[in-house]
């Protein structure tokens, strides 16, 4: 077989397979753009007071072998999603220690009342992203809950 035929057929195979993957991926993302946030034509989010109040610092009380006290998270808006990073730890005696800045929670759909996203849990040094939902109680608190194969929890986040 001629080299040009080999090259032509190989490129055709690549285009067809990668094309199908991108087409399906593109159509599925376009149908579920997060509600509640509006976008300009060029996809830059515009300020949205209905959802943006989640930006800022939140405190969650935490009890485990490693740490007992409050963990402070900081929510930032990143393009179309809200992400929460560990900001600092405050132990029972009020001592505080800077957080590692690890991303712990991503909310990709949020309408100002309810939202869904991914919560990162570390189990045996492996990081897992599991689906979670948030539910606003009022403007200054919400619950974050997940249930994964029986591994579940509900946390209350309070605005600082």
């Amino acid at each position: 077989m001629k080299s040009s035929t080999l090259l032509f057929r190989s490129i055709a195979i690549l285009i067809v397979i990668a094309g199908v993957a991108h087409l399906v991926s593109f159509t599925s993302t376009n149908t579920d753009v997060p509600k509640g946030t509006t976008y300009k034509a060029n996809n830059v989010p515009i300020d949205n007071s209905e959802t943006d109040y989640i930006i800022g610092k939140w405190s969650v009380s935490h009890q485990s072998k490693e740490f007992t006290g409050n963990i402070i998270y900081e929510f930032k808006k990143e393009g179309q999603v809200f992400s929460a990073y560990i900001y600092e730890y405050v132990d029972e005696n009020g001592n505080n220690q800077k957080g590692e800045g690890t991303k712990i929670l991503t909310i990709d759909k949020f309408d100002g009342y309810k939202g869904t996203g991914k919560y990162t849990v570390t189990y045996q040094e492996q990081k897992y992203e599991i689906k979670c939902t948030i539910d606003m109680i009022d403007e200054n608190s919400f619950t974050m809950s997940y249930d994964y194969y029986g591994y579940s929890d509900v946390e209350t986040w309070k605005k600082l």
Partner: protein, 292 residues
């Protein structure tokens, strides 16, 4: 159906499914099958010292292969993959069944080409000849690797990452292809039904690939699918009884000889050859190429 194929999946699930096939299959498929093969050898009175030493050498080459790759830093390559993925890639694909399916197809197609090059360039054959040098054909031969067998796969999987596929998914898909391929190394299974033999790589097709009979040389490179060979002109059906091995037999079960024979043969060929240009051509031309 479309909804099913495009529904977002959770990474933890995807990793788990791959774990069941890629990792656990050693326990529930490969080992039991190998035991079955040993029983068959015993029944056919072919279970001799040479076969056992050959199987042990196969497993040792696998260990040596892994150690070499760690030493060369090849198993730590995911960092490079992620750098390419984050800087030189098409928009990143969502994790759904279509993406997984396409990733496996592309990994399989990349396998076809890297395998074909391993046979058709001197340097590639110096390492891949190890896999082909056994006069036997069973599951343990699938683990018979040469020292540099992991280099070409890296070159060929980078384009898949650049097409927008997550590096971890690409890696898992490549292992998936490799495990499927492992299961083809057997004489127990004859020819399967026509449609299966038409689309998929099967033990029959892969026996041909391991044949030292002239008409079987450099044929049936496929991993999971045989249609790549049909499309690209390298398909050959199993007709004449296959004689396993390479054209210049190795006649050794010494794991060190097995592991390095390709490199040492290449080295002595290079030493005999005059001129820098010819030496370079030996590395990139087909293994049977001789300077004029």
């Amino acid at each position: 159906m479309i909804e099913f194929l495009s529904k977002q999946l959770n990474w933890i699930d995807v990793e788990y499914w791959f774990y069941i096939f890629n990792d656990l299959s050693l326990l529930y498929l490969i080992l039991p099958f190998f035991i079955l093969e040993l029983i068959r050898y015993a029944y056919l009175k072919r279970l001799n010292r040479d076969l056992i030493l050959d199987s042990i050498a196969n497993i040792i080459t696998f260990g040596a292969f892994l150690i070499t790759e760690v030493f060369l830093g090849i198993l730590a390559i995911t960092k490079v993959y992620f750098w390419i993925y984050n800087n030189f890639s098409l928009p990143h694909l969502e994790l759904n069944w279509t993406t997984i399916f396409c990733a496996i197809l592309l990994a399989d197609f990349a396998y076809y080409w890297e395998h074909r090059l391993m046979h058709r360039i001197g340097l590639g054959w110096a390492t891949h000849t190890v896999h082909h040098s056994s006069p036997h054909f069973n599951m343990s031969v699938a683990y018979r690797f040469g020292p540099l067998d992991a280099i070409l796969p890296i070159v060929f999987s980078l384009p898949i990452v650049m097409l927008g596929f997550d590096p971890i998914l690409v890696l898992l898909s490549e292992v998936f292809v490799q495990v499927f391929q492992t299961l083809l190394h057997t004489e127990i299974i004859g020819k399967l039904t026509k449609p299966v033999e038409y689309i998929f790589n099967t033990p029959s097709h892969h026996r041909v690939h391991h044949g030292s009979n002239k008409q079987y040389w450099d044929k049936n490179y496929g991993g999971i699918l045989i249609i790549w060979d049909r499309l690209l002109g390298t398909f050959e059906p199993e007709e004449e009884k296959v004689i396993y091995g390479i054209s210049e037999p190795l006649n050794s079960t010494n794991p060190i000889k097995v592991f390095f024979h390709g490199i040492s043969r290449l080295y002595s060929k290079l030493k005999k050859t005059q001129g820098a240009k010819n030496k370079i051509l030996i590395l990139i031309k087909p293994p049977d190429w001789e300077p004029k």
